[in-house]
Symmetry: C2
Subunit: 369 residues, 2 copies
């Protein structure tokens, strides 16, 4: 059918999805097998082992959610948050706002610790919030704020929350496999991600991990989560010894995730982080040389996602459209308050390569005349 | 990596997933593009048009949920059901039980109209329940009960519910594209399905449609649904004129769904139903000839999913394992109360072919000695 056959390929340098290697696309096209087939269960176990290494955790309860990154966000919140809870949320962009919204939908009170967009949430503000709300059940932070390109440091916040009964939820959708995410070292209780950023796999499954502290808390809930699909207690029955049917996993997406995780281990995590850092740094300095202004706070910029305000007087929309129409290069615009004001350029996963920086800069030079 | 490369292909004749054509697998392996790319939005519009034809509906709000069939079940319930509602649920198998559970998780009272497993829910029992609960907000029925192989007639129930203010929710996960699902003619307000049954696409997205009556009811909710990911009001903002970012769609899965829907239109719906009917009938009579006993009520048997109790004295587990190990053929066992007692054999989508019936019967004859 022509609609699919005529799809114009794009160089995906926006905030996600990122480019996918041919090897991963072909893995996804392998014949579908059953979700209760022992071969598939073995594959799921191997995916979990590999995810633990990328997350930096020993958590037994580590698995891919059967949905995209936002489903994993929802899985974190529907399991961790109970009606009547107080939930402290660091909000410095769209994804912090979403966490607060999700907390409210679970019947909790969201205490939003707002920081200026483009800046981190200072750990002392989380500390102060924990003092004001000593019974807070959950603290949420966004490690890689995809709407601004800010990289939130986690070590101090991790220590602060670990000293309380609260659970620490961390959004690493854009972080995982592009920058270190040390779940255990940073005392993160529930950490979730996506596949379509630095993992380099199409969207459709979303890694998540739950600490024993989180699992104990969830097991003690007097009422089950509102969500049945994302109920980690039920999912544990499928992943555990019993292999109890819960829902049909997105089998071919999991082939792709497995292949992506194999690619990651072949490259090595440190080499992968370094690759992201190197091309990200190069892009940032080239943009500055062209009159762009880096939006994220210095010292807290994500290597893999660069947010850059266009030079004075340059309208971003038409230029961005020309990059897509004339060069088939996709970059992202601003979200929320930053709509129309900046570009978000991702060099993520398979896309984090010098040749892509070259292609982008050549095109930028043309469209900016 | 060997784990994926060594996967033994299976002939999938269980209750799902069903076999996927090479053409659909290759469609899924096309390069990923962005979820806000106009090419992708055009593809989504075309998928919606094609889904409307398969569902038999003019509902504008028709789309693939970014999850598997159980996510679509949850999408139906989290949007339709409000805390304090009374929800009437026909329960004659596992999926009716799940609908009742989902109603309770939304804070509603579930009135379960239980029928014997293997039999339909008689429409007069729904009628009586509507009389006893004139303020019922939602009525749920399972059109194709995957746990028993029963095919629930919908015309009378549709007329009954349409005469009230209640919304009619219908589970057609195993029905869609294998037997007629006439959403508009049967006055179904929310109808959902999966892709890994008669649509013939791997699991990972799940078609759903909402009637204007359902959308009006949802728009008038004083509180939003507990789920943000599945909130149809928010999803409408992405699918509509605004193209407002909600979540990243599972792009490559949608390539596969598109290709599957193209295949369906090429074959023609009537021809496809007839194909399922013909091979399903053949399988049933061949099994009866071998001493199997058909489990589902006569006159209400799904063509695409045959539930059959094994001949007296034959233990199903070891035989089913031999089919898998020696012949690489997957059939399903019983769920819930029927565990260990019957086989569920699917001839669905691409799998509904005479040559598969031949292969299965040959293998059955060997393992049953």
């Amino acid at each position: 059918m022509s609609l699919l056959a005529d799809l114009q390929p794009r160089l995906l340098l926006g905030p996600g999805p990122s480019p996918v290697s041919e090897r991963i696309l072909q893995a996804m096209a392998r014949p579908t097998i059953g979700h209760l087939d022992s071969q598939f269960l073995e594959l799921m176990d191997d995916i979990a082992d590999r995810l633990r290494r990328v997350f930096g955790t020993d958590n037994p309860m580590t698995f891919p959610v059967s949905g995209t990154g936002s489903a994993a966000l929802e899985a974190a919140m529907t399991n961790a948050v109970q009606p009547g809870d107080t939930v402290i949320v660091g909000v410095n962009g769209v994804f912090g706002m979403r966490l607060a919204e999700m907390a409210r939908r679970q019947g909790a009170t969201a205490v939003e610790i707002e920081a200026e967009w483009g800046r981190i949430v200072e750990p002392e503000r989380i500390e102060a919030a924990l003092r004001r709300h000593p019974n807070a059940a959950v603290v949420c932070v966004v490690v890689a704020e995809t709407s601004t390109g800010v990289h939130q440091p986690m070590d101090e916040i991790g220590r602060l929350v670990a000293a309380t009964d609260a659970l620490l939820v961390a959004d690493t959708v854009t972080a995982l496999a592009g920058t270190p995410v040390e779940v255990d070292a940073n005392h993160i209780d529930i950490c979730y991600s996506g596949t379509q950023k630095c993992v380099g796999v199409p969207p459709g499954v979303a890694p998540i991990t739950f600490s024993p502290k989180a699992m104990d808390r969830i097991a003690a809930r007097p009422q089950p989560p509102h969500s049945w699909y994302l109920d980690v207690g039920l999912i544990a029955g499928y992943l555990g010894e019993e292999r109890r049917y819960h829902h049909t996993a997105p089998i071919n997406m999991l082939y792709a995730l497995h292949e992506g995780l194999v690619e990651i281990e072949e490259e090595g995590l440190e080499a992968r982080y370094e690759r992201h850092r190197r091309v990200g740094d190069r892009l940032k300095s080239e943009l500055v040389a062209r009159g762009f202004c880096l939006y994220a706070q210095e010292g807290h910029r994500l290597p893999q996602l660069t947010s850059a305000v266009l030079p004075e007087g340059v309208e971003e929309g038409p230029l961005r459209r020309r990059l897509l129409d004339d060069f088939s290069i996709e970059v992202g615009g601003g979200l929320g308050a930053m709509k129309g004001k900046l570009w978000r350029i991702g060099l993520m996963g398979y896309g984090a390569r010098d040749e892509n920086v070259d292609r982008l800069l050549e095109a930028v030079d043309v469209v900016m005349g």
